[in-house]
């Protein structure tokens, strides 16, 4: 009899084990839903799977009566485009600021305490100030994401830059590189895969802020739809939307990882 800490499940067992919790959750849901439906046929809190399916059908496969659009896809597209823009800007800011501060001590000195302070401010609490600076259009939604995730990315990149082996920077100097050349050819290319890591870590927060932003003022988007239909408690729409967001979050994370593995094989085999 092996010790518990030494026993690993075989591959088929592992797959079986990993499915079980999901099956259990679905079962629990179905039972709870059935119980509520038995009491109130029109209960909206826990819709049956048929209701959810018909809601998906309505949102994703039939054009909306009012606008003729496939709402689900339009929401997805708007949200993803906001997410991508917001995260890209945040990544760009994170890269520039984090790299500059990480590589140049004279920049780190004034920036570090400021970044710490900014990262601690809850952006949702100062929305009005954000509105006057960025207005209320697409920009403000994107900027909320940027504000939500860029402090994290900046801090992360700053730290990763400072973690690069000192030896490399010394070596680059003995090869005659000046500061700019070293940043461009030694530090930057090594930080890029780490930037992807940082982006992956911050995606959850980005989704959070995206949904919050779409709840503030919007005419489409996954977060918009969730908050809109919340007004009449259409959980049959909310639940598949949430599941979809979860799936999208998972997919973006996975894609970024594959991308990074593909472009930066040296980074992934280094570890």
């Amino acid at each position: 009899m092996q010790r518990l800490i030494n026993r690993s499940p075989s591959r088929p067992l592992r797959i079986a084990l990993s499915i079980i919790p999901f099956v259990l959750i679905l079962l629990t849901y179905q039972i709870s839903s059935g119980m509520r439906k038995a009491e109130n046929e029109q209960d909206k809190l826990l819709p049956s799977f048929t209701e959810i399916a018909s809601a998906i059908d309505r949102m994703a496969l039939e054009p909306s009566k009012r606008s003729g659009e496939y709402l689900f896809w339009r929401d997805t597209q708007s949200s993803l485009s906001r997410l991508v823009k917001g995260v890209s800007i945040a990544a760009f800011i994170g890269l520039i600021v984090g790299l500059a501060a990480g590589a140049i001590p004279l920049i780190a000195a004034p920036l570090k305490p400021l970044i710490t302070a900014v990262s601690l401010i809850p952006p949702l609490a100062i929305l009005p100030v954000l509105f006057i600076v960025f207005g209320l259009g697409e920009l403000s939604k994107i900027m909320l994401i940027v504000l939500g995730v860029s402090p994290f990315i900046v801090r992360d990149i700053l730290q990763r830059t400072q973690e690069l082996p000192r030896e490399q920077l010394v070596k680059a100097q003995t090869l005659g590189g000046n500061s700019w050349q070293i940043i461009l050819r030694v530090i930057l290319p090594q930080i890029l895969p780490r930037l992807i890591d940082a982006v992956r870590l911050s995606l959850g927060t980005a989704w959070l802020f995206l949904i919050a932003a779409e709840a503030i003022a919007s005419t489409d988007g996954l977060g918009y739809r969730i908050f809109l239909v919340r007004r009449y408690m259409s959980m049959d729409i909310i639940l598949p939307y949430v599941a979809w967001i979860t799936l999208l979050a998972f997919a973006t994370d996975w894609l970024l990882l594959q991308l990074s593995r593909f472009i930066y094989p040296w980074y992934h085999s280094e570890k």
Partner: protein, 263 residues
Amino acid sequence: MNNFIELTNISKHYGDKVVLERMTTQIAKGEFVTLVGASGCGKSTFLRLLLGTELASSGAITIEGELIEKEPSSERGIVFQKYSVFPHLNARQNVALGIEFERSVGLGRLFGAKRKDAIDIADAWLEAVGLSSSAELYPHELSGGMQQRLALAQALVKKPKILLLDEPFGALDPGIRKDMHELVLKLWQENQLTVFMVTHDLKEGFHLGSRLWVFDKRRNDPHAPNRFGSTITFDIPLNAQNATRNHQDLEAIKSEMHIVSTT
């Protein structure tokens, strides 16, 4: 030729801790100085002073009569035990980098014919260190020994006057080490380098060097171990001819170092 490098009364301390103490010596052009001594005695610190990443607390270092530059520069090459090559560049790019820095001030990157040129030079150096067939490989695809060969090629492409080696073979297998010794000796002779090499392996020190330094504390205060620093306690001229002499020295220093390192 005699006073290529001069150290005058060099001391180095970090806060209260004295690491190196009043070192005065001269090094001729083309010498191969090997440095041995207990761990933490200041060998790497000494190399850092020569390299320019640290400043001496007092005293002066001159090269060819001029005060040493206070920053690493391309006249002093270095190979560390680890992290000497860039993981994101393949072998050829690693070697070409030094040329690109020199010939493209703005981007540090060459294109077209200039790039071709740089690659040719890089390939010649890869050849010299026996890595011709691995030019396209990334460091993570190279063995430890190949990585150190690459690091040497990368340093030498800049034609440095001084080559600093900080335990370059510390992480390598004994078998591979032997090849590396031959390579280093070859490169030293072919390029008329002045070499400083730190090693933990006394035999290596004797085998490679034209001069061996033992770093140690001359004085020791058991109640304040930081009070006194190391200096060169043995300075032994070596040459391949008088192997017996060398062997005696080796044994003498061995017992000496043993005492040092356990006190």
